[in-house]
């Protein structure tokens, strides 16, 4: 049995988080003395598929049907089931993102398999098949044991650093017979966001709260983000007030993010906000109130007026980038 992993790509470019998932699958395969197989769907060049070998999979299965360039979760699930049958896979891995969340639960039901959504660890095989995941939007972690024979995991992106090796994978075409219902959803129009750093996938995030005083000051946040190559985010009151679009809202009722660096400007740090961001590796808090609760959750803190500090920080980053 081979560990099977679903790979995502954007217009033929494999996403970084998918390399993470591939490496994760390969590591699990090593632990149980087996191989790992990557499944790639849609239009993509063989030269790009070859990159998967460096992250530890021995085989790449490619379903080159261009209908799969759009998210058709039922078709994706059919392809995963077909690949799992071919490879005798008992462990199936996808990403904990929009695609993975639409596909993995279907596969789990079809195979009567236990699913852990948003795994943060490798399975602990001493206690069964136990994975760590965040619960209560990051306020705690749970250790979940999968008790079924077949196991399905969605991996949280940015959980393991990439360490490419020198492995090579064989590439095979896979033909899948799809059912009528697999393409039941008709896509009328697609509006892709280009250029901006996507918030959920961002490694660096600059976020503003009510302390920014108004939408007219957001240029300061954007300048810093641009200089860093970071995505921008905001707190709930800011999104509710319409200062920023809702997809930027992070917190318990918004998005949960786990970047390497989260810079919070003018955000006091309510428990609901912390829940959405406390998985960040490093947190910088800039706030004029030295008693702001967010400082307790921060690695670095700056007390002062955001309007004055942000331009200075942007300038310092610019200087650093020039001398690097």
């Amino acid at each position: 049995m081979s560990v099977l992993v679903l790979v995502e790509h954007t217009d033929g470019n494999i996403k970084k988080k998918s390399f993470e998932a591939v490496q994760y699958a390969a590591e699990i395969a090593k632990k149980i003395n087996t191989t790992a197989t990557a499944l790639v769907l849609g239009t993509i060049a063989d030269s790009e598929l070859e990159n998967l070998g460096t992250y530890g999979v021995q085989k790449v299965l490619h379903v080159a049907d261009k209908k799969l360039d759009e998210l058709h979760a039922r078709a994706y699930a059919s392809a995963l089931i077909a690949a799992a049958q071919k490879e005798g896979s008992k462990i199936i891995i996808a990403l904990h993102d929009i695609n993975g969340k639409a596909v993995a639960p279907r596969v789990a039901v079809k195979l009567k398999a236990g699913l852990v959504s948003g795994a943060l660890s490798y399975p602990d095989l001493d206690k069964g098949f136990v994975l760590k995941k965040a619960v209560f939007s990051g306020k705690a972690f749970a250790f979940v044991n999968i008790t079924s024979d077949v196991k399905v995991i969605t991996l949280m992106a940015n959980s393991f650093p990439l360490a490419p090796g020198s492995g090579k994978a064989s590439i095979e075409k896979l033909d899948v017979t799809f059912g009528d219902k697999d393409f039941g959803i008709k896509v009328k129009s697609v509006d892709k966001v280009t250029g901006e750093v996507s918030l959920v996938d961002a490694e660096l995030v600059v976020s503003g709260g009510r302390g920014m005083k108004g939408p007219e000051n957001w240029g300061l946040i954007e300048d810093l983000a641009k200089q860093l190559g970071a995505a921008t985010a905001c707190s709930r009151p800011v999104a509710d007030a319409g200062w920023r679009p809702h997809h930027e809202h992070v917190g318990q009722t918004g998005g949960t993010i786990r970047p390497n660096l989260y810079i919070a400007v003018g955000i006091s740090g309510a428990i609901q906000h912390l829940a959405g961001v406390n998985g960040s590796k490093v947190i910088v808090v800039i706030n004029k109130d030295p008693e702001a609760p967010f400082f307790k959750a921060a690695n670095y803190g700056v007390v002062g007026d955001a309007m004055e500090i942000l331009p200075k920080l942007t300038e310092a980053v610019k200087k650093f980038k020039q001398h690097k």
């Binding site: 236990g114 209560f136 044991n145 129009s189 318990q252 670095y300 920080l313």
Partner: protein
């Protein structure tokens, strides 16, 4: 057209999580429960709007839980909905929950099943998809707008790196997020009416769980914040580079 809205009971967002029994369980003493915000603000309200505009004939609510979840389902009924079903079980995992709900849904035959994009307690976001699979129905997650015409829904949804608009035929399960509707506050008439609306308690069907939570852990405490002078942003950048190694 019949709509089923899945309602999950979750701890209030301000709840500080505490563990008990050697970290094998969450201490729920004193916890205030609310309707999962995504279920309430978006899924339920959109269902009610569809009924108010004459598109939907029936809006039923469903929850899986023991008797202690009744105040939350009554609160949902105060916002609206014709009747509610409580499947009398402490579900162990999403697979079991989805099986209970799908088994019930099959007995009625809903055109549209609405739920929130995830519940804010276990953050799986998987029950809706599982229900769709069990009903052999389509599923659209992360919906930001739902319009219904005849037996077709036009749904705007978030996708990886953008947004798309889809056409989907009934039956369909749609998981809702911000944009689908605006939150409402129940009025006194709604609260009074909710008291007498049917709340049917039914026994769960057979359906085994395939995962179990063995234990919990609290996030590690931060080592303590290092304060930087606002006049020394070069130092902050240097620390982010050489000490934190994030830039």
């Amino acid at each position: 057209m019949k709509i089923l809205v899945c309602i999950s009971q979750v701890p209030d967002t301000s709840t500080k999580i505490m563990l008990k029994d050697n970290d094998t369980a969450v201490n729920t003493q004193g916890t205030t429960y609310i309707i999962n915000p995504y279920d309430e603000w978006y899924a339920l309200i959109r269902a009610l709007e569809l009924k108010e505009s004459g598109v939907a004939t029936d809006v039923h609510l469903i929850t899986v839980g023991k008797a202690d979840t009744e105040p939350v389902i009554r609160k949902a009924l105060a916002l609206g909905g014709d009747q509610a079903v409580r499947i009398d079980a402490d579900s162990i995992d999403p697979y079991q929950t989805a099986n209970y709900i799908a088994d019930y849904a099959k007995t009625v035959g809903y055109d549209l099943v609405l739920c929130g994009k995830e519940s804010i307690d276990y953050n799986n976001g998987s029950v809706g998809v599982m229900i769709a699979e069990l009903l052999d129905a389509d599923y659209i997650g992360f919906a930001t707008n739902i319009e219904v015409e005849g037996t077709t829904a036009t749904v705007k949804r978030e996708i990886e790196g953008g947004e798309e608009t889809d056409l989907v035929n009934f039956p369909v399960v749609i998981a809702c997020q911000k944009g689908v509707a605006e939150a409402r506050i129940p009025n006194m008439r709604g609260i009074m009416a909710a008291r007498t609306k049917p709340l049917n308690v039914i026994a769960p069907t057979a359906g085994a769980a395939v995962t179990t939570i063995l234990s919990y852990e609290m996030p590690p405490a931060k080592a303590g914040v290092k304060m930087i002078s606002p006049d020394n942003m070069d130092e902050l950048v240097e620390l982010l580079h050489s000490e934190a190694k994030v830039i």
